[in-house]
């Protein structure tokens, strides 16, 4: 064993240690950012260790340079350009590419052999075949599933009707069987068609299982697919004989699974329900058929009336939702709350665990608008405060403030923890229309006597409120003093 080999082993071990510390640190606010750097350093070390160990030829270096330049550059550009509102899609895209990479490695080894023979690994042929099958299968599902998830979040891909019927289970089972046939015939196959059957069936299966899932559950799906890409990486580790890859892949796979579970709990859904239940509300009948026809006692009001209520309020709570993010209104909201604070009003923001489109998404968006961290209050802390709150303004949130989740056992949302805004003295709901939320069901909050709807785009309404408040002279006296 040469010194170089020893060195590369040591580097590998340090890399694994740093990865573990990185994942652990990422789950605490204080350490998250440095932990992210630590994990990045770990990947760098892993690559360095491998290069020391394998000592690539000049030709290999050339190809490494090409891959690095293209992938690295695109990664940097994407990471800088993408808006904060599009984070979920971006993670899905990255994840899909990671899955595709594992898939390609396995396909390359299956088609052209190579890596195993050279590395002096003593694994049997069957083990290699099994690893290839798993890597292809999981990699393909990760890839196609992530791309579908991205498309659905971007609104490019609708949810086709047949995916909500039982037909989809038949289709998916057929695809799974096809993939299994491809996998079983792979070792004996000389024509190479088994491999392609496996690739095609697994990819289609990834589409088939992701397509029926509604937009509201997509974050959970992305988290699960993220866990899969760890499994795919571990399988690729078996294929090329890298223990580092196996341990890192297994770690990410398992941690991803836990995160998925944590997210499911936050949304009060079971994982099985998310995966096989179809789009939430798709099967449950919506009251009155059309989503708008269900409402009978709606009060709407103008920004002017809303501003007057705000002027006299002592305590105001904003409930930001995805509509706020879409309208890019977080800065206008920050301005409004500054004005109210100058007027002596106590302002806070109620953050539902799944506000926005991903858990924690809203915190990121509000932090971008310089909202003080202390004003963001989580659901459990703010719910007891609502009864002594004068005005609640709901901005583009819907399902997370639906009181039916507490009261109506027949509601598909029943049991989901919600923000109890109906306890407040007055509620204004800023919404573009009476359309249903992600869950596709009507919201009893809108019909309560203390609720008034302010129709319009969140940013336009907030700007309207700002100018109304300025006219009323709110905040001016104190600001000048």
């Amino acid at each position: 064993m040469s010194l170089m080999t020893l060195l590369s082993y040591a580097i590998d071990l340090v890399a694994v240690l740093l990865l573990a510390l990185g994942i652990k640190g990422l789950s605490k606010v204080r350490t998250a950012r440095s932990a992210n750097g630590l994990a990045a350093l770990a990947i760098g070390l892993a690559v360095l260790g491998l290069l020391i160990q394998t000592q690539p030829s000049l030709e290999a270096w050339l190809w490494i340079a090409i891959g690095t330049a293209v992938g690295g550059l695109l990664g940097v550009i994407t990471a800088q350009r993408v808006p904060m509102t599009a984070m979920p899609e971006t993670v899905a895209l990255f994840n899909g590419c990671g899955g595709l990479a594992s898939l390609l490695v396995a396909v390359a080894v299956a088609l052209y052999g190579g890596a195993q023979a050279e590395s002096g690994v003593t694994s049997t042929d069957l083990v290699e075949q099994i690893s290839i099958v798993i890597s292809v299968f999981v990699g393909a599902i990760t890839f196609s599933g992530s791309i579908v998830a991205m498309g659905k979040l971007q609104g490019w891909i609708p949810t086709p009707g047949w995916t909500q019927s039982q037909v989809r289970h038949g289709v998916n089972i057929t695809l799974a069987v096809a993939a299994l046939v491809g996998a079983l015939t792979l070792p004996a196959d000389t024509t190479g068609s088994s491999l392609w059957v496996l690739v095609a069936a697994s990819s289609l299966l990834g589409i088939g299982v992701t397509l029926p899932i509604g937009g509201a559950d997509m974050p959970v799906v992305i988290s699960l697919l993220n866990s899969y890409s760890g499994v795919a990486a571990a399988a690729a580790g078996f294929v090329v004989g890298s223990q580092l890859l196996i341990v890192a892949g297994a770690m990410v796979g398992a941690a991803g699974l836990i995160l998925t579970q944590v997210m499911c709990t936050a949304m009060n859904r079971s994982l099985v329900n998310v995966l096989f239940g179809g789009a939430l509300g798709g099967a449950a009948p919506v009251g009155g058929g059309g989503s708008e026809a269900g409402y009978t006692r709606i009060t709407s009001c103008s920004p002017e009336e809303c501003a007057m209520a705000l002027e006299t309020a002592e305590r105001v709570v904003f409930v930001p939702g995805y509509g706020l993010a879409v309208a890019q209104a977080q800065h206008a909201l920050r301005e409004l709350s500054k004005m109210l604070e100058a007027n002596g009003t106590e302002v806070s923001y109620a953050i539902h665990p799944v506000a926005g489109r991903m858990p924690g998404h809203m915190n990121v968006l509000l932090a971008e608008a310089d909202v003080p961290y202390e004003q963001l209050i989580e659901m459990d802390a703010i719910n007891p405060e609502f009864p002594r709150t004068d005005v609640v303004i709901v901005l583009g949130a819907n399902d997370v403030v639906n009181p039916d989740a507490k009261r109506d056992p027949s509601s598909p949302l029943y049991g989901m923890p919600v923000l109890e805004v109906d306890q407040a003295r007055q509620v204004f709901v800023v919404k573009r229309s009476l359309g249903a939320g992600y869950a596709g069901i009507s919201n009893a909050l809108f019909e309560l006597p203390q609720t008034a709807m302010v129709f319009g785009d969140a940013k336009a309404v907030l700007n309207g409120l700002l100018s109304e408040l300025r006219e009323l002279g709110v905040g001016k006296v104190k600001a000048a003093a």
């Binding site: 950012r33 190809w63 940097v76 993670v91 990671g98």
Partner: protein, 102 residues
């Protein structure tokens, strides 16, 4: 079979470690953690590099290796940078709050 049995032990212990690493996660961090874990799963760059390094001049292997290297690096680089961008916002948000609270 020594590689296989070692590898299976590594798989088992790695999975157990992963299950223990994160327990309670504040909802604030769900998105960054997911994004960070996603970047780490791009560790499959190691597989791509192995493929290239051991291709021995086999052109299709080199091409496929470079392709998968590019994809995996896209995942790694983009993933870490995006996570950092998100987490950086938390920090400035908290710092500004401290600065503004006096």
């Amino acid at each position: 079979m020594s590689f296989l049995s070692e590898a299976l032990w590594v798989l088992l212990l790695g999975s157990l470690l992963g299950l223990e690493l994160i327990g309670k996660v504040p909802p604030t961090l769900h998105t960054p953690l997911m994004s960070g874990a996603n970047a780490i799963s791009g560790i499959t760059v190691v597989a791509s590099l192995t493929l290239i390094a051991q291709a021995n001049g086999n052109r299709p292997l080199l091409v496929l290796g470079a392709l998968s290297l590019g994809l995996a690096l896209f995942n790694v680089v983009g993933g870490f940078l995006v996570t950092d961008r998100m987490l950086a916002m938390f920090r400035t948000g908290a710092n500004r709050a401290k600065g503004g609270a006096q």
